[in-house]
Symmetry: C2
Subunit: 164 residues, 2 copies
DNA sequence: GCTACGCATTAATGTAGATTAAGAAATGAA
DNA sequence: TTCATTTCTTAATCTACATTAATGCGTAGC
């Protein structure tokens, strides 16, 4: 039993192989439930390289995990002719859900960083995002979080410093 | 307004720096809301190397994202003396939440794999987990999902094959 | 049936970061 | 404060994977 009556503007749509459903920067507040076919989401980094974030086949949900009315981070397109249920992200969400969605957004960013950014770039992103954590834990734990060795972090930090 | 009255056996606890709250394999069905202090979760790979999955400071929630009554994947310990609200994962969850939690579990696994497994190991895990996807997309997209180049995947697959 | 384009494979070479090791600095316990 | 332990830095060497490039293959379109 649900308490919120969701005014869900659900629409069933058919898309062809190759069709793009979302581009980075779009204020697309939709997500897609795959009834048949196959979708993919991916980013393109500064070097022009594609990084696939996820595939979604039958019964999976495909969404760019950013809030509604936040510019999209990723491309979404169809790898096969597909049939989808399209819904709005703006459906009322409970506060409990909101926390989970925020956690998914953090993890999405983390995966993208791990796949497309160098050690020093991940470090700089971390420092910007969690400045308070940086001051409270030893360097080697930050290295461990970033997926590099403390030695590499030390070396790479010095290099970056001397460049400025 | 919530419809489910959650019988939440919430308990406020204090832990000292260094104290371990959870070990891999534990059937620990608890999660922790950090009131003060700092927690960390991490795995140890086959080579004995630590990989920090997340830090949780004030107002963050620390949880090993596996279902209740599923053996834990990670260590959780305190990096500072901390005060925590401890709750049970077994609180009633809505089906909507359940989907989100499953997605978080998938992402958690993905991050751990990216940090601690080699390309070929990630490939083998992917094939085992999504055998149907493997057959439906070109190799180069699987490589992109895994975070390696198609060339590397091709080479490494051949090596593995000749070893068997 | 061709033709062309995307895909897979292979090999040569390059590089970010791992590993190892040793000394310096910081931190914590007594 | 002192001693011991952990953490950080630096440097030399090593390795997994990236890059580049060339070749052959499969398949969709003509």
């Amino acid at each position: 039993m649900r308490i919120f009556v969701l005014r869900t503007f659900m629409k069933t749509i058919k898309v062809n192989r190759g069709q793009v459903l979302q581009r980075p920067g779009d204020l697309n507040s939709k997500f897609y439930e795959v009834k048949s076919g196959l979708l993919r989401s991916y980013t393109i980094d500064d070097k022009g390289k594609e990084h696939i974030f996820m595939f979604a086949s039958e019964d999976w949900i495909m969404a760019d995990n950013v809030g509604p009315n936040t510019p999209a981070e990723m491309f979404i397109d169809a790898l096969e002719d597909s049939e989808l249920n399209q819904r709005e992200k703006t459906e009322k969400v409970e506060p409990e859900n909101e926390k989970l969605i925020r956690r998914i957004a953090v993890l999405q960013k983390r995966v993208i960083m791990l796949m497309s950014a160098s050690g020093i770039e991940r470090y700089e992103h971390f420092v910007k995002t969690y400045p308070n954590i940086v001051q409270r834990v030893p360097q080697k734990m930050i290295a461990s979080y970033l997926g590099i060795t403390p030695e590499a972090l030390s070396t790479v930090k010095k290099q970056r410093l001397s460049e400025k």
